[in-house]
Symmetry: D2
Subunit: 374 residues, 4 copies
Amino acid sequence: MKSLGIGLIGTGFMGKCHALAYGSVKAVFGDVPQTRLEVLCDVPAEKAAGLADQFGFARATDDWRDLVADPKVDIVCITTPNKVHREMAMAALQAGKHVHLEKPMALTLDDARAMQALAARSGLKTIVGYNYLHNPAISHARKLIAEGAIGRIVHFRGMVDEDYQADPSLAWTWRATKAGAGLGTLGDLGCHLVSLAAGLVGPIESLIAETRTVHATRPVEAGSDEHRPVENEDIASALLTFENGVHGVISTSRSAWGRKSYIAFEVHGTEGMITFDQERMNELRLYQNRGPVAEQGFKTLLTGPDHPPYGQFVPAAGHQLGFNDLKVIEVHEFLRAIQEDRPAVPSFSDALHFEAVIHAIAEAGAEQKRVSLK
Amino acid sequence: MKSLGIGLIGTGFMGKCHALAYGSVKAVFGDVPQTRLEVLCDVPAEKAAGLADQFGFARATDDWRDLVADPKVDIVCITTPNKVHREMAMAALQAGKHVHLEKPMALTLDDARAMQALAARSGLKTIVGYNYLHNPAISHARKLIAEGAIGRIVHFRGMVDEDYQADPSLAWTWRATKAGAGLGTLGDLGCHLVSLAAGLVGPIESLIAETRTVHATRPVEAGSDEHRPVENEDIASALLTFENGVHGVISTSRSAWGRKSYIAFEVHGTEGMITFDQERMNELRLYQNRGPVAEQGFKTLLTGPDHPPYGQFVPAAGHQLGFNDLKVIEVHEFLRAIQEDRPAVPSFSDALHFEAVIHAIAEAGAEQKRVSLK
Amino acid sequence: MKSLGIGLIGTGFMGKCHALAYGSVKAVFGDVPQTRLEVLCDVPAEKAAGLADQFGFARATDDWRDLVADPKVDIVCITTPNKVHREMAMAALQAGKHVHLEKPMALTLDDARAMQALAARSGLKTIVGYNYLHNPAISHARKLIAEGAIGRIVHFRGMVDEDYQADPSLAWTWRATKAGAGLGTLGDLGCHLVSLAAGLVGPIESLIAETRTVHATRPVEAGSDEHRPVENEDIASALLTFENGVHGVISTSRSAWGRKSYIAFEVHGTEGMITFDQERMNELRLYQNRGPVAEQGFKTLLTGPDHPPYGQFVPAAGHQLGFNDLKVIEVHEFLRAIQEDRPAVPSFSDALHFEAVIHAIAEAGAEQKRVSLK
Amino acid sequence: MKSLGIGLIGTGFMGKCHALAYGSVKAVFGDVPQTRLEVLCDVPAEKAAGLADQFGFARATDDWRDLVADPKVDIVCITTPNKVHREMAMAALQAGKHVHLEKPMALTLDDARAMQALAARSGLKTIVGYNYLHNPAISHARKLIAEGAIGRIVHFRGMVDEDYQADPSLAWTWRATKAGAGLGTLGDLGCHLVSLAAGLVGPIESLIAETRTVHATRPVEAGSDEHRPVENEDIASALLTFENGVHGVISTSRSAWGRKSYIAFEVHGTEGMITFDQERMNELRLYQNRGPVAEQGFKTLLTGPDHPPYGQFVPAAGHQLGFNDLKVIEVHEFLRAIQEDRPAVPSFSDALHFEAVIHAIAEAGAEQKRVSLK
């Protein structure tokens, strides 16, 4: 297959992560087309130019429509704030480009539905940045579950926390608004956990929930006495019913002191249990009710070449993958999907379910009622 | 104060635990009256006699009313199956004895209320076996919270699991019935977690919940094709609203493979977090948002003499208390309360709230509605 | 068998631990003679009397020779400072009493040899307080090794640390002297580790070593400018050759900040590994090179009824034994040995080897040469 | 500064790791010259060509002398088997190239000395692949030590293990020979630990040691009855005296089942302790004897932007770096050293000390004597 030209919009946390991943995926995996880093977009133009040089892009622009229109660009990566996702993604699809979009898809579920509908009609490939799904430890958990290693699944619990909004003296930003950010912790963190829950247990059918805003207002700037309201939730919890009848519990907080990238879950089965915590992302814990009782216990599996595609990065077990490596695996999945003309996972269609769940949690919490996903 | 005579009904798991605790509490603490192990009751009489010899009781009986009536008995300890708790506890109170009752108080909340009312009228002392409350690590957590070590509490999460009902081939017993056992995992395990939640955060105001029975039927005996229904829940989860407005999430399972005595919680505050897991009962984890960010992290506090009353057992830190030691602390609290003529913690009144919560969870799960505790 | 009368010399850390263990061993295990707490000895007499009342001893004395001579005493427990061990233990044996002696046996190896020789001639039973040997987790490790669960043993590593001498401002005491305490960290802590090494791998043949005194002097009292020399070691490390050819490494410090009761080891075998840490004394970690590589990992075994005699304390797994429970198991071993007229483990003969090793380490460190244990 | 051309010899584990690091270092850090991946060398030529395409090198060769002679190459990376390190490194230096060499430097200490001498005369820059030194957690440990966060260092302990030689049925290879591999576990693993010990505590002065070969022979091929001798050590341990008088203990095994990348150490100070384990490479544990005793404990620091250069990879804490990221930091150090015309760390001179230590351990073990490093 011919090489693929990459256009990247955004140069922040996720922008750099995409640049690194598209820059190294061929070297890591070998079995994908060459990628050409064609256009990098940010504002102002000088910033874009400087980072294009650093990241290795052929040219820079401060106009994302220019990037989308560039015939050398085959894939448009969107790593901008949520509120412009819809416009950019739809423009890229309309321009005939494959779209690699950071999560969440959009501010509202209606927006996400419109994006998914357009993608479905377009025949183009899409993928959404639910990067934790691509951890070899998670893939192995899914394999173990499919093989019946823990029997029939009967319960799921998950938590996802960070502490970037824990400090009450932090200044108010657009992140605190529905118009700017949409949901709060659900959109930033909760959706990642939902992607894992759905990926491991299956789709969610209905739920009840609670949400809380820990810090009701924030100073307009650090130290100011003037405060503005925080419009979205800091904490959210839900009791899930999966389509297969399994009961699940999830909870998320962006105000959880000490939690830096805590995405922890446990899957209970009739013959064992699997647990995981992203802050120790190279470990999977497995309990099986097998063999002598005196030798039963939770086993810590340290990922290695027997947990693909770990071996593409390091041929020796236990040496540790990092956060940025997950994006390389995600990009590999996307390039392979394009090459093989099949849907990537998770596509806009897959992600739509994850995002329907977080919006349902917000609704169930606000209106104090059961919300169905059907 | 004069010595106190002990009458113990039941010789199983908790019966032996009581016998050991009342036999050693004076040696451990010093500051309590001498205890006399007077009467041990079980059926048949030979079993009671044999265990009275082993445990060091002066005499044995197979008639609990005989024990309750014995003038040498000052304290009646009840460690029998839940369904006889009400009758025994009320008879003991009516006979003028202090009552040390294992949890849960009774099969139904009405029973528990009747018992509490009688105790309140009697002027006698009561205590219920919520032993995990007496862990020095838990007491230290409470002290830290009271001192503001983690700021204002904003969130609580807890889980309590065992796996004693995880095996689907286990035979059906009275534990699976509402008439015999009342609640399922909520009565066995869930109430312990509620005691910690309420002890650390405060009373619960209302909740919504889900319950599940993992194994809908069980064989009448091991290997049989004949099955009987399991009438109570294997799994229960609830979203709590505490009276102070804090949002909490709790979940419990008696079918959680690998979990042996897992009582884990996290208390989120505006300045830090505290976490705990009973399977590592001598450790408390504390995060505080203090000092240089580069040196912030969860600290593992290993209990020692600076966490009273650990030092009564061992004068050197980190040497580890065990499960049976928690009962000694509970007995100490009870004897001190009798000696000082003050309520013990947790008395029937305290425990009534814990048990109201588990019954509310069962109701909220069954009827799919919010249940208020007021 | 008729009941056994106990005389206990010393009421400190270990004295109280003995009192509790002899007071509860019958209740815990059932299968031993009744014990009578006959005489408690300490100075001054009032202290002995007060603690005899608390611990439940029939009478008190401030004269240990009086205790040893008491015809009601069958077993003499010695929990006094090391330098009087020899005199007391030999007097007790000469009076025809079984002897339960705290470790280390004596200040010098010559003393220990004399004690062992007298015990051997006497036909009486002896046991030395190497209590960690009696942890069900350790017994299970020994069983696993004997069954070949980790193949042939090829390597041993161990560390034992506390921090009670870590603070340089602590005042000088007799513990810092050879005449008062004999060895330093080797006598306090190192010998425990040696008991585990020898218990798991076998006797030690020869060794080379290093020793260090971290704080060369200490103030005569807190805050004083006057200092006295510390004569014994704070840190010691040795490279061991076991009789079976296995190579081992051990290290101990009494000045290791943060370590409270750290006794950690790893046993490497040709088919797996076992690791342990006393600060999590209810856990044993086991790796076996069995089954699919993708599911190999260290398994955490939480002790339970399948790890005897855990079940005598608690019938449910994972509920946790404590430090004081280990002494109850040790006392049980001693009473059973007396009842069955067989040597207890570890007897004076067993302990002599452990103590020969720590003296050899001190010698090898001081003289910079290989020391043979033969 | 103008861009730098890279020539890489070797395409295995470390070869790919170098290719990825030189391919992404500019994007990650920004503050270094552009790198050009010019020549990749391996045999046969087709393999080199295929991997040059995958890794992004401009051309391929099967003749390393051709690569060394290429005027477009400024830096020669050597990731070949140890026995050709000397010849390649010296040829590269003689051709005026900077040299990035994988560890260990050479088969013998004499070879390493010759290489270091030539490098010193050449004025060119050198760096050796002691990549664990570049972990932000390790850099932070060094900073903490320098700041006195744990007081004066008094003791060091370290272990480094893998299990790639644990299986006795593994076939014999050149790795088992002195001529092919030189040292055994000391050369593969032990030298990494020495680099950390020296980096944290300082240079080593003298040592005593033991070495063992666990599997004395290996089958010539899997399943064969014909065996050949294993000439180098599987296990080695040493008692170190650092130049500053600190006593250290280190131990290494390449036959330690369950250990995948275990590089664990503890640094004991007069005011605290630091511990680390590479299998959890994003965590540093710190104990400080400060504040209330009841709140003292080991704190787990999760690396983040406050531990440079973590933030160059991910701007949010706790997201985890991986093994390959350490090589990027190493390459950054090398490019900065070239740019600033200063020695890189660790240069051939630095590495010479690490390797002198492992050869001293082998000698001390073989000849049963103290070996001085002076």
